[in-house]
Structures are given as structure tokens and as C-alpha cells.
């Protein structure tokens, strides 16, 4: 009977006891997890730009947070999978399984750290944080699971009650044994082998685990009867489990109950007797003392009432003083461990913040800390905690900062406080005062702003003035220099007119100086027109490959003459035809490239790269044009002004390099007009990189990305000492289905070919750079040909003019030449018909047009210009007729036989009738043949709008004065052919 009662007691005790234990512990775990998520949010809130300045500042911040919240790890993960922690920056941590996919909501998980102890991981997705140009995507913390459970465990001495955590599938989440269940064992699997007590079912428990329901089960496992209670942990897939052995409770309750019975009887008898005696004594004594106590209590009551009244009066006065001063009190109390146990804000302070009651602004430090302005938060909290933790007691709390008030937005406060401390330095109370200093602060800020504005305005004015003075000085110098040369050499030529050789030398120098003077004037005028808004961007269908090849052709001569190393390549360009202002794009690239060449010494490197970025909206394409050099570079001070007009780091007098200081300003203006961005990175003595980012509308389908069936799976070898070219060409080859290999060494290329031949897996195509440092491309081709024979195509890829070595290269076995930069469309074209000997270099197959006997009507009012033009054109074989103004020209054409004049060269600004009007009248002639005569504007009106006006008037061409003779002849040839 007694045994059964004890057994029932055991069951009841187990049931209540375990349920209570498990429930509380599950709640503790759940609370701890929630708290930790709150910590993460708090940390992300206070993380600001100052923490993201560098790796050092970020590490310092993460370290502080890790310590503050006693975590095992506090980490941020960027979009490249790089994990930043207090002491490390590590890539590719595959053991954090939640990093394998995009995190969209907070997760709780455990990490199997390669056999090391399991740890709890809490991760949250992150937005809007960028560190070193990479987006931070995840923030996670790592908590030692054993530490988390140690405070919950009950295992002491012989008291065998166990606590553990399992996943709902039974997987062990901890690192230790759970009673007889070994660490790492699946609880459900283990229990399936146990003998389950009557009244309990294994299936019910399995179902409860699956659905996250609470329950209990009693069973016999490894010879011991035990009861297991399980409770779900809120917001997780975890189950908190408590295990107690029946024998423990049974033994304890049995022994306690027997012992208790015996002792109870004795105790009851003794107690009753003692109580009777004591009761009688007490009654007598209390009656005697009651009278004395009554009198004392009355006196004490009066004294306490008076003291309270006095305190209340003093507090009221103090509150009035603070209210009048606009200041409020606060106080905090700490226990022996330095933990805060209470916090109190005065009503005045609450009112200052716009809160009426303690309910709205509770007596907690977070009430105040949460209202701190983000910019001030870290500084103020640091100051606060530094003061509290300064056990030396030397530090005082005295800070100014902004708080978010209920009704008045951000306001400035001054806060000061002092701590009283115990003997060991630990804090007892922290009392202080808030003062609203918003008005003073705003006045100060206003004055400071005004002062800065005035200083800035003064500096801008002084700078502009100085820049313009410098510009005028430079211009004076730069114009006088070529002018001096022109005048000087003209005099010298006149003096030595008999000496043909000397005169030719003088004329060549005059031409050089004239050209320089012209570019100087062009720059100044261009700048002036841009600034006055006269320049418009005209979008036309443009081929980027054409622009890049033209660019290369234009600079090639200078590159060669300056002995520069030249790189030009592309990356990821799939839209090769776009709508853009070709002229202006050319101009800006040429400006940047000319600059790069100008400031790079012989032997240096100049490079151009075009990269298509994938961030453009539909129907648009985004490009990055990079122009890089290893030239003299710029100082950080000058970099700030590089795009301002009239700025030059050194005057031409000092540097020996001529320029107006307008090139970069013009470039920047063009980029702005095209809606782009230009940036520059430069280091003195090391070089400069300009990057222009532009978006253009696409005007054709992207270059075909599909695989070329004939080339699919075939191997190709790319050899180029420029890694970027290797990378870009390799990618293109992969796109069209080939299996490319690459190397930056000519020797290695030969070795690879040998290996491939030996393995009977030879390359089907070879793309070899001409100039490589360890072995030149021609030699590489010669050696490869010896290994592979003649049937496979070998293409030489180069940024230089290959005409000098073409013959030798063909003999060595080169199939074709290809000019850098190479675009996907060009590569496709070459490889789709690899055996056709072809060059991508445009060969001029100009049709020869003879000028001999052709008759021109020159319409020009200026006699000198008439003379110059007549001399040039007659020398070329033309028969010349002249008209002094538009009106005469119209008459001459009207009265001529059709075909008499082959072409009219028309000046624009002329007396009586200008060129536009004359052209219109000619086009309006009744005789269609006469009306259709070709007319070319030859004018000093050289801008785009002048050119447009000429075409609008019906003219067929436009050539600017001063006349560029080759250009004039080219235009005449084009029109007359």
C-alpha cells in the first residue's frame, strides 16, 4: 500500500516537477535567443560610417559588440562571401550552411564546425550597409551552446536530472551526454529501442516532437526507469528536454516520508508544550510594553511626518529650480557586480522630451538611449560606459548630444553626472543633470555655418580669381610661344628664301606651331561654348568597335614615336552598337588618351579598356571606359581640382608640357552632358587611371552569344602577356563553345602546344600576342607551326601596326592578323571562317580620283584666302574660277552650261549674300543639273551647329578654316568620285 502510494507520488511529483522545469528552461532559452536578436538589431542600428571607414575600425567595432554581449563571435558577411570578425577576414566559409542561399529572414541554426563543438548561430539579413564597396548581406552571431545550457543544467552530485536540446527530428543539438543517451545520438531513434511504460506511447511522442508539442514519456532504457519531459522552444524547431530517473525521486521520497513520520510526532508534542509556556509569558510582557510603545510610536510618527514634509518641500523647490532652468535630474543605482538595478528620470526631464508620464517614458536606460541621435549614439554610450566602468573614479560624465523629442524633433542637450563608488571602485549611484542647450547650440551652429560659408565664398572667389589670372598668364605664355615661333620662323624663311632645305625646315616648324595654336584656340572656344550651353549631344547609331579601332589608329603614330607600351582591350561587351554622340565620345576618349600619352615618359605604359557592366535598364547598356597610364601622376591636392577649368598642376613653363588646362574640364563637361560619371585615381610618380561610366541606348540585338556548332568543344590557346586580354578573349571563346586555355608566357604557350599534341588533344585555334617579354609572337608561331603543321589557324593579336613585320609573320605561319581591342563579333567572324586569310585591319582601297582638268568655282571674299586656296587647288590640277560673294556665285552658276563647274567651294560670311543664302538659291535653280552641283562650305565657322547649318542650306560637305589640305582633298575625292 505504502509502496503504491509512494509510486503514485513519484509519478505526480515527476509530472509537475518536470513540466515546470522544462517549461521554465524552454522559456529561458527562447528569451535568450530573442534577446540576442535584439542585440543584433541594436548593433546594426549603431553601426555607422565611422565604423565602416576601414578594416581596423570595423574590427574594433565588432570586437566591442562581441564583448558587450558576451558572444563567441560577432560577424558580418559581404556579397562576396567574405566574413568579417573582430580578428579575422575570411573567405568561403562553407560550414555556415545559411550562407549558401540568399537570407531573407532571421534564422536560428547550429553549425557543425568540422567535428569541433556545436555552436548556435543567429543570423539576420542586412540592407543598406556597404563596406569597402561591397554590400554587407548578413550579420550573424555565434553562441557557445554549452555555455547557454550550463546555467540550465541540474546535474550536481548524485542528483541525476538532465537537461538538453534536440531538433524536432530528434537530432542532438548539444555536445554532451543526456543521461544514458550519448552525445550526438538521435533521441527518437534511441527511444524507439526503449521499453515504454504503460500509459505512454512512443508514436505519440514522435508525433508531438514532429509538431512541436509538449508532453512526457516514461520508459526503461539501459536498465533504468526514467521520465522524459519535452517542451517546444518558442520560435525555433527545438525541443527542450528534461530527464529524471524514477529511482532518484522514489528513493528520496520513501526515505523522507518514513523519517518525517517519526520526527513529526516527537516534534509536535514538544512544540505544543513550548508554545503554551511562551504564549503565557508573552501575554504578560506585551501588556506591560504596549503602553510604552504607544507613546514612542506617537513621538516617532510626528518626527517622520515632519521630516517627509521637509523633504517634499525641498524636492518641490528643486523641481521648480530645474523647471525654471530648463534642466532635469536623473539617477541610477548599481549592485556589487556593477549591474544597473534601478534608473530614474525626473518629471522635468520627461517634460523636456515631450512625455507626460512614466508609462510613456519608463524609468529604464533604454528609454533615453533609444532616443539618442544615430550620429551621437556610439560616442555618448561609450562615454557613459567608460565613466561607469572607470573604477579609478577619475572620469566624469560630461557630454553634449542630440535627442529625438516627442514634439520638437532633434534637440541638443548637455548632460553631466558623477558616480559614488564602493571601496573596490564599483559604482553605487550615478546622479546627474540634463540641460536643454538647443537654442545656444543652434545659434553656435548658425554662426559657424555662416563663418564657413563666408570662408568658402571667399576661397572660391580667390581661387577663381587666381585660376583666371593663372589662365591668362598661361594663355599669354602659351599663345606667345607658338606665335613667337610662327613670326620668328616666317622672318627666317623670308631671309633664307633661296635655301630651299632651310625654308622647308622653317615651314615645318611653322606648321607645328600653327597646329598647336589652333588646338589652343579650339579648346578655349569649345569650353566657352560648352559653358554657354551651345553644345548639344546628338545621338546616332554608333559602332563601339569602330570607335575603339579609330581611336587606336589615331594615337598609333604618337604611341610609336613616344616609345610607349600600349594596351587596348574589352571585357564583357555584348552590345556593340549603341545610340550615342560619336563625335563627343571620340573627343572625350581622345582627350583622356592624349593626356595619358602627354604625361607618360618613353618606356611607360598607356592603356584603354572598355567594359560592359550588367547594371543597365532594359533597352540600355552600361559601359566603363578606363584610360590608364604609368605617367607622372597627380598630387592629391591637384586631384581635387583636376576637372576645373584653367587648372594645371604645373605650368608648361615648368613641366615643358603644353596645354591650356581646359582638356579635363571639357572632358568632364562632355561626360556630364552624356549623363555619365568620370572619376580619377592617381598617384604621383606611379600613374593615373581615368574611369568614365556611361549608359547608352542599344540600337541592335546583342552580339550572338550562342555556341558556334563547328567550334563546340574544340580547344583554343590564348597567349598574351596582358592578363586582361587573356581573360577577356578566353571568356569570349568559352561563350562560343570552345575550350580555351591561356598563358601569359610565349614559352609556356609552346610547351602547352607540345603537351596537347602528345596527349592527342591538340588546339584547333591559336591566338597569339605579337609582343611578349619572354618570346615574341612570331617566334612562338614559328615553334608552334613546327609542332602542329600548317592546317590550324594561328592569329596574331596586336595593338600595334603590323605592316613592317607582316611578311616575316606570314612566312613563320601566321594565318591572320587581328587588331586589338577584339570584340566578340570580330572573334566570331574570324573563327567561323578560320582558313580564309584575312586581316581585320582596314586596308585603304581608295579609288584614285584625278583632279586634273576639273573646274571649281571658289566663292571667297578675302583676297589672301582666295590666293591660298587657288594656289593649293591649282597645284592639285584643278581649273579655278573665283566669285567675290554669294550673289556673283549664283549668277556664275546660273549662267554656266551644266557640267562646266564640277564643284563649288563656298565661304559663309561674305558681303551682299552669305554662303547659306547662295547655296539655297543655287539649289532652287530651275535647271536641275545646275541646281544639283556639289557645294562644299569652306569656312571659319567651324562648330557643329555651323556644320549643321551648311547641310541644312543644301550643301554637300563642310571643311573648316584654316584648311587641312589632306582633309580637303579627301573630301573632294569623296564627292567627285
Amino acid at each position: 500500500m505504502s509502496q503504491r502510494a509512494t509510486s503514485q507520488a513519484v509519478n505526480r511529483v515527476s509530472e509537475f516537477y518536470l513540466e515546470e522545469l522544462a517549461g521554465r528552461r524552454a522559456q529561458v532559452v527562447s528569451e535568450e535567443l530573442k534577446n540576442n536578436f535584439t542585440y543584433i538589431e541594436n548593433v546594426l542600428d549603431i553601426l555607422d560610417d565611422s565604423n565602416l571607414k576601414s578594416q581596423e575600425t570595423l574590427r574594433r567595432f565588432l570586437g566591442k559588440m562581441k564583448k558587450l554581449y558576451s558572444l563567441d563571435k560577432f560577424a558580418l558577411v559581404d556579397e562576396n562571401g567574405i566574413v568579417y570578425t573582430e580578428h579575422s577576414t575570411v573567405s568561403g566559409l562553407s560550414h555556415y550552411n545559411f550562407l549558401s542561399e540568399e537570407l531573407t529572414e532571421p534564422v536560428i541554426t547550429t553549425a557543425n564546425l568540422y567535428g569541433a563543438k556545436k555552436q548556435v548561430i543567429l543570423a539576420v539579413p542586412v540592407d543598406n550597409i556597404v563596406f569597402q564597396e561591397s554590400r554587407i548581406k548578413v550579420c550573424f552571431i555565434q553562441i557557445n551552446i554549452d555555455g547557454m545550457l550550463s546555467s540550465l543544467t541540474l546535474q550536481t552530485g548524485g542528483n541525476e536530472t538532465y537537461c538538453s536540446l534536440y531538433h524536432r527530428n530528434g537530432e542532438d543539438l548539444t555536445n554532451g551526454d543526456f543521461g544514458n543517451f550519448k552525445a550526438g545520438n538521435n533521441l527518437l531513434s534511441a527511444l524507439s529501442d526503449a521499453k515504454i511504460d504503460k500509459g505512454f506511447k512512443y508514436g505519440e511522442m514522435e508525433e508531438a516532437f514532429k509538431n512541436g508539442k509538449s508532453g512526457q514519456i516514461a520508459f526503461q532504457y539501459r536498465g533504468l526507469r526514467e521520465t522524459l519531459c519535452y517542451v517546444p522552444v518558442e520560435d525555433t524547431n527545438w525541443m527542450m528536454t528534461i530527464l529524471i530517473r524514477d529511482n532518484v525521486i522514489f528513493d528520496q521520497i520513501s526515505s523522507i516520508s518514513t523519517d518525517m513520520m517519526r520526527r513529526s510526532i516527537i516534534q509536535i508534542v514538544i512544540t505544543v508544550m513550548v508554545m503554551l509556556v511562551v504564549f503565557l509569558v508573552l501575554i504578560c510582557q506585551s501588556r506591560r510594553n504596549a503602553r510604552i510603545l504607544l507613546a514612542q510610536e506617537k513621538a516617532d510618527g510626528d518626527r517622520i511626518r515632519n521630516a517627509f514634509a521637509q523633504i517634499e518641500k525641498e524636492q518641490a523647490s528643486m523641481e521648480n529650480i530645474h523647471a525654471a532652468m530648463g534642466s532635469g535630474l536623473w539617477s541610477m543605482e548599481f549592485d556589487e557586480r556593477g549591474e544597473m538595478i534601478s534608473c530614474s528620470w525626473s518629471e522635468v526631464f520627461r517634460n523636456m522630451l515631450g512625455y507626460d508620464s512614466e508609462k510613456d517614458f519608463p524609468n529604464r536606460i533604454e528609454s533615453w538611449a533609444d532616443l539618442l541621435c544615430q550620429e551621437d549614439k556610439e560616442r555618448v554610450l561609450k562615454e557613459y560606459w567608460d565613466t561607469v566602468r572607470d573604477y579609478s573614479g577619475e572620469k566624469t560624465f560630461d557630454v553634449e548630444y542630440r535627442l529625438i523629442t516627442q514634439n520638437a524633433g532633434l534637440r541638443w542637450f548637455h548632460s553631466a553626472g558623477r558616480l559614488s563608488r564602493r571601496e573596490d571602485g564599483s559604482p553605487i549611484t550615478f546622479v546627474g543633470l540634463f540641460v536643454d542647450i538647443d537654442d545656444e547650440k543652434k545659434l553656435e551652429e548658425k554662426l559657424e555655418r555662416q563663418k564657413i560659408d563666408l570662408e568658402d565664398a571667399l576661397a572660391v572667389a580667390q581661387h577663381a580669381n587666381k585660376a583666371k589670372t593663372t589662365f591668362l598668364n598661361n594663355m599669354s605664355h602659351d599663345i606667345r610661344t607658338p606665335m613667337n615661333a610662327i613670326i620668328g620662323f616666317t622672318s627666317l624663311a623670308a631671309a633664307h628664301i633661296e635655301n630651299r632645305e632651310q625654308v622647308q625646315d622653317y615651314l615645318s616648324k611653322i606648321t607645328t606651331s600653327s597646329n598647336h595654336l589652333l588646338s589652343l584656340i579650339n579648346d578655349v572656344l569649345d569650353m566657352s561654348r560648352i559653358e554657354s550651353g551651345k553644345v548639344k549631344i546628338e545621338e546616332k547609331e554608333t559602332s563601339l568597335p569602330e570607335i575603339m579601332h579609330d581611336l587606336k589608329t589615331i594615337v598609333q603614330a604618337d604611341i610609336t614615336s613616344k616609345q610607349l607600351e600600349f594596351f587596348i582591350d574589352t571585357a564583357d561587351v555584348v552590345n556593340e552598337n549603341v545610340l550615342c554622340d560619336k563625335l563627343r565620345l571620340n573627343q572625350l576618349l581622345l582627350n583622356l588618351l592624349s593626356n595619358a600619352m602627354k604625361f607618360t615618359k618613353p618606356g611607360g605604359m598607356v592603356g584603354v579598356r572598355i567594359i560592359q557592366r550588367g547594371n543597365a535598364p532594359e533597352g540600355w547598356a552600361a559601359y566603363e571606359f578606363q584610360v590608364k597610364d604609368t605617367g607622372i601622376g597627380m598630387s592629391p591636392e591637384f586631384l581635387e581640382h583636376v576637372f576645373e577649368p584653367f587648372e594645371r598642376e604645373r605650368t608648361s613653363t615648368v613641366s615643358g608640357i603644353q596645354g591650356t588646362g581646359l582638356g579635363m574640364a571639357i572632358t568632364k563637361n562632355i561626360v556630364d552632358m552624356m549623363g555619365g560619371v568620370i572619376s580619377v585615381v592617381s598617384e604621383e610618380g606611379k600613374g593615373t587611371t581615368f574611369t568614365v561610366s556611361l549608359q547608352f541606348r542599344t540600337c541592335s540585338e546583342p552580339v550572338m552569344q550562342n555556341i558556334v556548332p563547328e567550334l563546340k568543344g574544340l580547344r583554343a590557346l590564348v597567349a598574351d602577356d596582358d592578363f586582361n586580354t587573356c581573360s577577356s578573349v578566353t571568356q569570349m571563346l568559352s561563350t562560343i563553345g570552345m575550350r580555351p586555355d591561356w598563358t601569359t608566357s610565349g614559352k609556356e604557350a609552346v610547351l602547352r602546344v607540345k603537351l596537347a599534341v602528345e596527349q592527342d588533344d591538340a588546339y584547333a585555334a591559336y591566338i597569339i600576342d605579337w609582343l611578349m617579354p619572354d618570346m615574341n609572337g612570331i617566334e612562338v608561331v614559328r615553334r608552334i607551326r613546327r609542332l602542329i603543321g600548317d592546317d590550324k589557324p594561328i592569329i596574331i593579336l596586336t595593338a600595334y601596326d603590323w605592316s613592317d613585320i607582316e611578311e616575316e609573320a606570314r612566312k613563320a605561319g601566321v594565318t591572320a592578323f587581328c587588331s586589338k581591342p577584339i570584340f566578340l563579333s570580330e572573334l566570331r567572324e574570324i573563327l567561323e571562317s578560320p582558313f580564309i586569310v584575312k586581316d581585320t585591319k582596314g586596308q585603304d582601297d581608295q579609288e584614285t580620283v584625278s583632279f586634273q582638268g576639273r573646274r571649281l568655282l571658289l566663292v571667297e571674299d578675302n583676297e589672301i584666302n582666295q590666293e591660298i586656296a587657288q594656289e593649293i587647288l591649282k597645284e592639285a590640277g584643278f581649273l579655278m574660277d573665283v566669285a567675290d560673294d554669294g550673289s556673283i556665285a549664283v549668277d556664275k552658276v546660273k549662267n554656266s552650261k551644266p557640267g562646266w563647274y564640277d564643284l563649288v567651294l563656298m565661304d559663309i560670311q561674305m558681303p551682299i549674300m552669305n554662303g547659306y543664302e547662295a547655296a539655297k538659291k543655287i539649289r532652287a535653280l530651275e535647271n536641275k543639273e545646275l541646281a544639283g552641283i556639289p557645294i562644299i562650305a569652306m569656312t571659319a565657322n567651324a562648330f557643329d551647329e555651323d556644320r549643321k547649318a551648311a547641310f541644312d542650306a543644301g550643301m554637300d560637305g563642310h571643311i573648316a578654316k584654316p584648311i587641312d589640305i589632306p582633309k580637303l582633298f579627301e573630301l573632294l575625292r569623296d564627292i567627285l568620285k
Binding site: 580578428h87 579575422s88 562553407s94 564546425l113 568540422y114 538521435n186
Partner: protein, 386 residues
């Protein structure tokens, strides 16, 4: 190099037992594996001769044959007292890959233990997403421009990277190599020390020997190497070729470079299976290719015909081993590589040269694991108990 090789059967698995001796001390440390189904191998080397400098195996000093394990997680820092309170290291390795993540865990553990002693180890451990010697030399040059106490590199290509290491050493930087690939003095490299696997050739040879025995020394074999130029992959492949050349009835029919990717390994294996209907075995020389090979063999339904041996501890590969698709895997102790790399870096940073405090090459173990050891490996490495 002289190698001592022993073989014995243990609980149905083949056991390779290697012994070693620490030069200078002249003491032998004999150890062997007794884990069910596991074969232990530190290296074939019994004793490092004087020309090659000192070699210290990771399990040096273990006298009991019972205590050897595939991966040691119970590391404690040695008694060396660092001279500084804070160190800053830069480590770069071949490519982002789970194999190197395991090395990272060892590093993290070492840094933690130093922190408990009041010494802060700051470090960067970074790699590109695809192996590239050019990328690696750029990273090394960038690191040289920053203020690191020691720069560590897992060499992507000895010929390309060694000149840069020498250049950095010439500029006064302290450079070590670690992990899977060394560039040693004999390669013309001036690096200070190496921590990691120096027995890749033997790993390849021993795995292949296991394969040959399983095939009764007959049949056609294909080899999946990995990355062209990567010393560890090439050395293992060389070991495999040399062993197969010993048996006249065996033939290597294909050798392919899969760039250490599962996808290429899978494609190449599909091709092997199509081209050679009587293919008997595949030797896989890196962590990715046994997975790719196993997938292709299962897809072709030829898992009973083709014997696969491979390297490392990929979780999927261990499952194939457990299921009998893969015959044997050579598991390297990456965790110890990471732990010892940090210990050696601290000593190098303090100006210690190889000698009394640490050897020029700290060598870690590789263990050959068979089917009946697979479950235990999954449990140890990934916490899988079922």
C-alpha cells in the same frame, strides 16, 4: 627519400602504417592506426635525411598506437612564449573551396587559444573563386604593401609564384607556405617554412596501390588530375602513374584535368565510361573529382564495375564511400594544417628561423579511409550520427 611501407589487415580494412623519426632528436615515434576500417598514413617517410632539413609529422611524439586519429581537434598551443602581444597575418590560398574552409577552422581555434593567453592574432584568409596564379601574385603584392607580420601562401603555381615570394623576401617581408602546396628551396624559392602535406606523391601512390589490389592488378584505369600546374594534384597523379606502371596487366587509358570542379570531373567520367566499356578504375587526385566521378558512375549504372579511389573529406564523397560507390578516400588533416600554420607564423614573426622551435616543414597526416570507416568519418567531421 626513403620510405618504409607496411600493410596489414585490420577489421576488414586495409591499413597503411607509417612510422617516422624526428631528425636531430634521433628518436623514433612509431604510430599506427587502429580505427575500424581506417588506414593511417603520415607519410612514407620514416626519417628525413639531412639534405632535406627537418620534418616534423603532426603526430610526432605519440607513443600509443591507440590514440592516433584522422583529424585532431584537441590541439593545445606548444610551450613557446610569443614575444609580442599582437600579430597580424595575411594568408592566401588557391581557391574558395570546402577543403580550405576546414583549414580556416584550425586557424580560428589557434587564434582563440592565443587570445586566451592574452595574445591577439589578427588575420586575413582570402582566396579567389577560381584558382589563378596571376590572381595570387597580385594578392601577394598587395599584401606586401600593407603591414603584415607574416605573409602565408598556398602556392598555386610554383614557377609563377616563386619569383614573387623571392621578391617579397628580398624586400624584407617574412613569407611562409602552407596547406596543400609548397614551393621549396629545390624549386628556387626562398620561403621560410611550410606547414601542410608534403607527401602528395605517396598519397597518390598509396590510393592507387589500394585500387590495383582491389582490381587484382588487372584492367584499364583513368586518372582525374585537377588543376594543371598545382603541385599537389600533379604529384598525386605522378604517384598514381608510377604505381600502375609496375603492373603489366594494368593500363592508363585517359588522363584529364578537371580544374578541381565537380562538373568537369563528371563530364570527363561520362566520356571515360562511353569510350571504354571495360574501364575498371578511376584515380581522383583532388576533393572535387571523386564526387563528379561517383555521380557519373551511378548515372551509368556501373557502380559495380568501376572502382573509384580519391582524395579528401567531401561530405557527399564520404556518403558514396559509405554506400560502396567509392572504394577508398585519402583524408588530410586540414584542421591541424590551419592550427599549426598560425603557430609557425607566430614564431616566424618573432624572427625565429626553422630549427629548435619548429621544423622547416611541419608535415600533417593523410589517412586512407575505407567503406567501414565512412560512418565514423561522417560523425567526426560533420556530426552525422545516423
Amino acid at each position: 627519400m626513403s620510405h618504409l611501407k607496411e600493410k596489414e589487415k585490420n577489421l576488414g580494412g586495409r591499413v597503411h602504417r607509417k612510422t617516422l623519426m624526428k631528425a636531430g632528436l634521433g628518436a623514433f615515434f612509431l604510430w599506427s592506426a587502429v580505427l575500424a576500417g581506417c588506414g593511417k598514413k603520415a607519410s612514407d617517410e620514416l626519417m628525413q635525411n639531412s639534405e632535406e632539413g627537418q620534418v616534423l609529422y603532426h603526430q610526432n611524439g605519440i607513443e600509443s598506437t591507440e590514440s592516433a586519429s584522422v583529424v585532431k581537434f584537441d590541439h593545445k598551443l606548444d610551450e613557446y612564449m610569443p614575444l609580442k602581444k599582437q600579430y597580424n597575418f595575411y594568408f592566401t590560398y588557391k581557391t574558395v573551396h570546402p577543403w580550405w574552409d576546414a583549414v580556416a577552422l584550425g586557424m580560428e581555434d589557434a587564434a582563440k587559444q592565443y587570445e586566451e593567453k592574452g595574445i591577439i592574432i589578427d588575420y586575413e584568409y582570402l582566396a579567389p573563386n577560381g584558382a589563378s596564379a596571376q590572381d595570387q601574385i597580385q594578392r601577394l603584392k598587395d599584401a606586401a604593401g600593407r603591414d603584415f607580420d607574416v605573409i602565408g601562401v598556398d602556392v598555386a603555381d610554383v614557377e609563377i609564384v616563386s619569383p614573387v615570394i623571392n621578391e617579397l623576401m628580398g624586400e624584407g617581408h617574412k613569407v611562409m607556405t602552407f596547406s596543400s602546396s609548397d614551393a621549396a628551396k629545390e624549386d628556387g624559392c626562398d620561403r621560410i617554412a611550410y606547414v601542410g602535406n608534403t607527401h602528395n606523391y605517396e598519397d597518390g601512390a598509396d590510393l592507387t596501390r589500394a585500387l590495383c589490389e582491389k582490381l587484382n592488378y588487372k584492367g584499364k584505369v583513368a586518372i582525374l588530375v585537377g588543376t594543371k600546374g598545382a603541385p599537389c594534384h600533379e604529384d598525386r597523379a605522378l604517384g598514381a602513374k608510377d604505381v600502375i606502371a609496375e603492373y603489366p596487366d594494368m593500363e592508363i587509358v585517359e588522363i584529364e584535368y578537371d580544374e578541381d570542379t565537380v562538373e568537369l570531373a563528371y563530364e570527363f567520367t561520362k566520356k571515360f565510361l562511353t569510350d571504354y566499356e571495360d574501364l575498371a578504375g578511376i584515380v581522383c587526385c583532388n576533393m572535387s573529382n571523386p564526387v563528379g566521378a561517383a555521380r557519373a558512375v551511378i548515372e551509368a549504372g556501373r557502380e559495380d564495375e568501376v572502382v573509384i579511389v580519391g582524395m579528401d573529406h567531401d561530405q557527399e564523397a564520404l556518403h558514396y564511400l559509405k554506400d560502396g560507390i567509392i572504394y577508398a578516400l585519402g583524408v588530410q588533416d586540414c584542421y591541424s594544417i590551419g592550427f599549426d600554420t598560425v603557430q609557425v607564423a607566430v614564431k616566424i614573426a618573432d624572427g625565429q628561423l626553422p630549427g629548435e622551435n619548429y621544423p622547416e616543414k611541419t608535415q600533417e597526416i593523410t589517412t586512407i579511409v575505407y567503406q567501414n570507416g565512412a560512418a565514423e568519418m561522417l560523425q567526426i567531421l560533420y556530426g552525422e550520427f545516423n
